[in-house]
């Protein structure tokens, strides 16, 4: 605390350097500090992080990057639409159009962040499942060791029916890479298709639920997965009903057996 200065005749006291001289601002510090079962803060530094925590951290970092771009776009669209709403108050028809545009943009944003969202939700679910299924034993050390390597996402961009399609896959097992699905578009009114597959297990068999537009009563059902004739390739076929309304349709890809989420799909239909 206070130490005398030996070399002077009178004892000049001096302060010790502090252990720290600034507040701990990190929210993760507060989250970890308040997770049930944790020890007091003074022992935090010595505890290794669990694999789930590291995975969440990586996913969060990815989400922040992805979200920043999409949110910026969303906010711009929102500001434009909001301004038009204010000036177009006397013209409800005009406002309705702008609001629909806003909702469509929102749908596209959701598509873009949805994959990462599903990723994190899955991690949470697995973390929650691990906590409830593995009761603590006294003396059991916390999880330690290096986390699993992040699986690599493979993306392919193709052309089908003169439109650009994007298909990506993030395999469940990072040591067993997968090929992205092939997208086949069968109607020229389709303007864009973006598929993002994130299977949770090697036995994942994808199923597309009916995609929904901004108005959930309007659906796109004529989209299906099938295998290529040589059984070597997953193919997504996109077709449209004759009276399919224009708009952006989005939905979740689920496992046909477990109904667990395993990706997202969005299809934009023009007039």
């Amino acid at each position: 605390m206070a130490k005398p200065k030996d070399s002077q005749k009178s004892q000049r006291l001096r302060r010790d350097d502090p252990v720290r001289d600034s507040p701990r601002r990190s929210a993760i510090y507060h989250i970890e500090r308040n997770t049930p079962g944790r020890e007091e803060d003074s022992h935090l530094a010595g505890r290794p992080k669990g694999a789930a925590s590291d995975t969440i951290q990586r996913v969060i970092a990815g989400m922040v990057r992805l979200s920043s771009d999409t949110i910026e776009e969303q906010i711009r669209a929102g500001q434009v639409a909001a301004e038009k709403l204010r000036t177009g108050f006397a013209n409800p028809q005009r406002s309705e159009t702008d609001v629909n545009l806003l909702i469509e943009t929102l749908g596209a944003s959701i598509r873009d962040v949805g994959a990462a969202w599903i990723d994190v939700v899955s991690v949470i679910l697995r973390s929650a499942g691990a906590r409830t299924s593995a009761p603590e034993r006294p003396g059991t050390p916390p999880e330690s060791g290096a986390p699993d390597p992040a699986p690599d996402t493979v993306t392919r961009t193709d052309t089908s029916a003169d439109i650009t399609t994007t298909s990506s896959v993030t395999p469940a097992d990072p040591h067993r890479p997968s090929l992205p699905a092939l997208i086949v578009v069968k109607d020229v009114r389709v303007k864009n298709v973006a598929l993002d597959l994130r299977p949770r297990s090697p036995s994942f068999v994808p199923v597309v639920r009916p995609l929904m537009a901004a108005d959930p009563k309007i659906v796109l059902s004529s989209v299906r997965f099938e295998l290529s004739p040589d059984q070597a390739q997953l193919v997504l076929t996109v077709d449209l009903a004759v009276d399919q309304p224009p708009g952006t349709y989005t939905g979740v890809i689920v496992d046909s057996t477990t109904n667990e989420p395993g990706g997202t799909l969005s299809v934009t239909v023009g007039s």
Binding site: N34, A82, L102, I103, L106, D215, T248
Partner: protein
């Protein structure tokens, strides 16, 4: 090596930070290891919080001092002080709760859609406990906690807005999916996450009702999932934000009440989106990461409408923090991180009620008891000591590796007491220990002459003194706690500033503003004046006195002859700096500025107060000056109608002394603050709301935190983790 004698600590200044440092250093746990001497210019403790008693024993303050329900450190120390005072007293004494009045009614004023002014007032719900109570296990300072509370607030606002929605707006509840049982929000995290996921799958939230229920799910998810991946909730928030904006932009055009609620919702949404978008939940800097932005800029970036950005709910942040650079209302500026942190603490950390108004002057309620307890603990008080210079040891004399240190403190002695006795600073009014509005000249050598010559002991520009004194390290002090105001630093720390670039940047970038205030005592109550709501604290009104507080609760503590005034109104805000800084010898400068405030107040009462008090004006539009209670009048009846000259019987002040200037939290300035924990000078620590004290905004709580940090710097106690809210995102 154990030091035999107590460690001598010289505490410079008698404001909240210095008092807190002294209180902690003399805590019984130290067993007398520290002897503290407080050096104070003039006759009273308090600094910017000092108050005095004028004619009729009326309370005269520097400005409006209302303690917030989130001032946990300030209340903790004050409560300890009262406990100790009453433990030592011979008879029952007052408790802190006897001297604070809980107040949950807050109002803001803004332009009405129909022209003129409108005000929006709210009763804030009671929260459990009292400020200063121990913090429970659920950390209320985690951003996830705030996030959940913010979402809950947003949901409440939406629900309240929905019920008052004008007829004709389509009820879109029918669009809600039949597949979802949205009434069910209980459940395991796995269920809640799935529900949010399913909701997103619809591609949009078609109705306000769905938006409200979605918010409930988000809130529950935040609370129930221990490690919340904040960004994972971003798509849900965005969908909700979009749906809400879609719904309510269409119905807010002409209704003031609805528009105000929408402005709040808009601001809350922008903050929610911004916190996630900027990654603040995971940024190691926490909310400091956005301190380079002004609050309005931050809101704009995150999608708030211009209407919301300029609404009274945004202005309130600037007004409460006096956030006007140079005291210029055309230059509002407050760092976004500081503003958001303060907002979160104000809304979600208050105990009991948001505001706690004192029932007497701050000097009476706070500094008098602290003075008593500190004296009982053996603290020495040296009044009439004005610090002139903090003298450093010669660099050339320092051995290698030795840190620079404070070698001496140079003071002007403004006055001495007769017989060399300790100056007795307090007087008693209605049983309460108080600080008088001027020194007790009878105790001073040459006191009568000083009174006749009007020595202004608190004025920076009145340099009269009777002697000088130098204190030397190891002889007179071992450590120094420099607890003066930020504005005074350049005048007393010249050597430090000249040799230390960090200090140069601090005094350059951490700016201050002068303030002005006035108080009027009225022979009418608020209803008579035409204010039809309960007694209030209102801000965002017209400049320069945009903040008004009804302080009628202090009248019983004053010493008026019957009939007492029916109420007291306090008004305050910043005072613009002059074009040219006055010379140090310009002894008339405070009086000139004070006269300026008088004219400002008269104009304000004549032109603007009628918007709040419609019955306070004459038919000519002039203020009804006869309403003002004159303390000198035995019967307050004028034979003829009084003019604005009647205002001279009231109290007003221009707080222009450097040490009285209000510290600002300008964007880009926070990084230049220095912490009390900084050990550049190994026998000096600093204390004040201008230091890096985590809260970093001008207020009592920040000063108290800083004082506790200064005590830690000297004695390693209190532990940093025990300084409430210090480790705050």
């Amino acid at each position: 090596m154990r030091v035999q004698r107590p460690i001598e600590v010289a505490v410079i200044g008698g404001g909240c930070a210095s008092i807190a440092a002294a209180f902690e250093l003399t805590h019984p746990r130290h067993k007398g290891a520290y002897h503290v001497t407080i050096y104070q210019l003039g006759w009273r403790l308090g600094g910017k919080g000092a108050s005095g008693r004028g004619p009729a024993g009326r309370i005269e303050e520097h400005g409006l001092h209302v303690w917030l329900g989130c001032y946990d450190n300030a209340f903790l120390l004050l409560r300890q002080c009262y406990e100790e005072l009453n433990r030592n007293a011979k008879g029952p004494g007052l408790n802190w709760q006897d001297l604070f009045m809980p107040d949950s009614f807050i109002a803001v004023a803004g332009a009405s859609a129909r022209g003129g002014w409108a005000h929006w007032a709210a009763h804030f719900p009671a929260a459990p406990g009292f400020p200063g109570d121990p913090i429970d296990e659920k950390n209320p300072f985690a951003l996830t906690y705030y996030f959940a509370r913010t979402v809950s607030l947003l949901r409440t606002l939406l629900l309240s807005l929905q019920t008052s929605r004008p007829s004709g707006v389509a009820n879109a509840d029918a669009d809600a999916s039949e597949d979802e049982n949205l009434d069910e929000i209980q459940g395991e995290p796995i269920d809640i996450a799935t529900k949010i996921q399913n909701m997103l799958r619809f591609g949009g939230l078609a109705s306000a009702a769905v938006a409200v229920e979605a918010l409930a799910l988000v809130e529950v998810a935040l609370r129930s999932i221990p490690r919340v991946p904040d960004s994972a909730l971003l798509p849900a928030l965005e969908a909700i934000a979009s749906a809400i904006r879609k719904q309510f932009e269409q119905i807010v055009a002409s209704d003031d009440h609805t528009r105000h609620q929408w402005e709040i919702i808009d601001l809350v949404l922008a903050n929610l989106v911004g916190v996630v978008r900027f990654g603040l939940l995971t940024d190691p800097r926490g909310l400091d990461a956005i301190n380079h932005l002004d609050q309005r800029e931050w809101l704009r970036i995150n999608g708030a409408s211009e209407r919301a950005i300029n609404s009274p709910f945004t202005r309130i942040l600037y007004d409460m923090a006096m956030a006007y650079e140079g005291g210029d209302f055309n230059r509002p500026a407050i760092a976004a991180g500081v503003a958001l942190r303060g907002t979160l603490r104000f809304f979600f950390n208050y105990r009991g009620v948001p505001l706690w108004k004192m029932k007497a002057g701050m000097g009476d309620v706070v500094f008098a008891p602290f003075y008593e307890v500190l004296r009982q603990r053996g603290v020495t008080f040296k009044f009439f000591h004005r610090l002139r210079n903090v003298k450093l040891a010669e660099q050339s004399t320092l051995p290698p590796g030795e840190k620079q240190y404070v070698e001496a403190l140079e003071f002007d002695i403004q006055a001495e007491t007769l017989g060399g006795k300790d100056y007795q600073p307090l007087c008693t009014i209605r049983g309460l220990q108080c600080w008088p509005a001027e020194p007790d000249y009878r105790q001073l050598k040459g006191g009568e002459r000083m009174r006749r010559e009007q020595w202004d002991f608190e004025s920076h520009w009145d340099n009269r003194k009777i002697a000088t004194r130098e204190l030397r390290v190891t002889h007179d002090f071992d450590f120094v706690v420099l607890g003066i105001g930020a504005g005074a630093l350049p005048h007393v720390c010249g050597e430090i500033i000249a040799t230390n670039p960090r200090w140069r940047r601090m005094v350059s970038e951490v700016k201050t503003a002068a303030t002005q205030a006035f108080q009027i005592w009225l022979d009418a109550d608020l209803q008579d004046l035409g204010w039809d709501l309960p007694p209030v604290t209102l801000t965002s009104f017209v400049k320069p006195f945009d903040t008004w507080a009804d302080m009628g609760q202090v009248v019983p503590a004053e010493n008026w002859q019957e009939p007492w005034p029916r109420t007291v109104a306090y008004f305050c805000n910043v005072l613009a700096d002059p074009q040219r800084e006055p010379a140090d010898s310009d002894i008339e400068y405070p009086r000139e500025r004070r006269d300026e405030v008088r004219l400002n107040a008269i104009e304000f009462l004549n032109r603007h107060i009628q918007h709040l008090w419609p019955k306070a004006k004459r038919r000519s539009g002039e203020f009804r000056w006869e309403l003002l209670a004159d303390p000198a009048a035995t019967k307050r009846k004028s034979e003829r109608k009084p003019t604005h000259a009647r205002f001279e019987t009231q109290f007003w002040t221009a707080n222009v002394n450097p040490s009285d200037r209000y510290v600002l939290s300008l964007p880009g300035s926070l990084e230049h603050r220095i912490s009390p924990l900084d050990n550049t000078y190994d026998n000096l620590t600093i204390a004040g709301d201008w230091t890096e004290c985590s809260l970093n905004v001008g207020c009592v709580e920040a000063a108290m935190i800083s004082g506790r940090l200064a005590a830690h710097a000297v004695s390693k106690w209190p532990a940093l983790e025990d300084i409430i809210g210090y480790d705050h995102p």
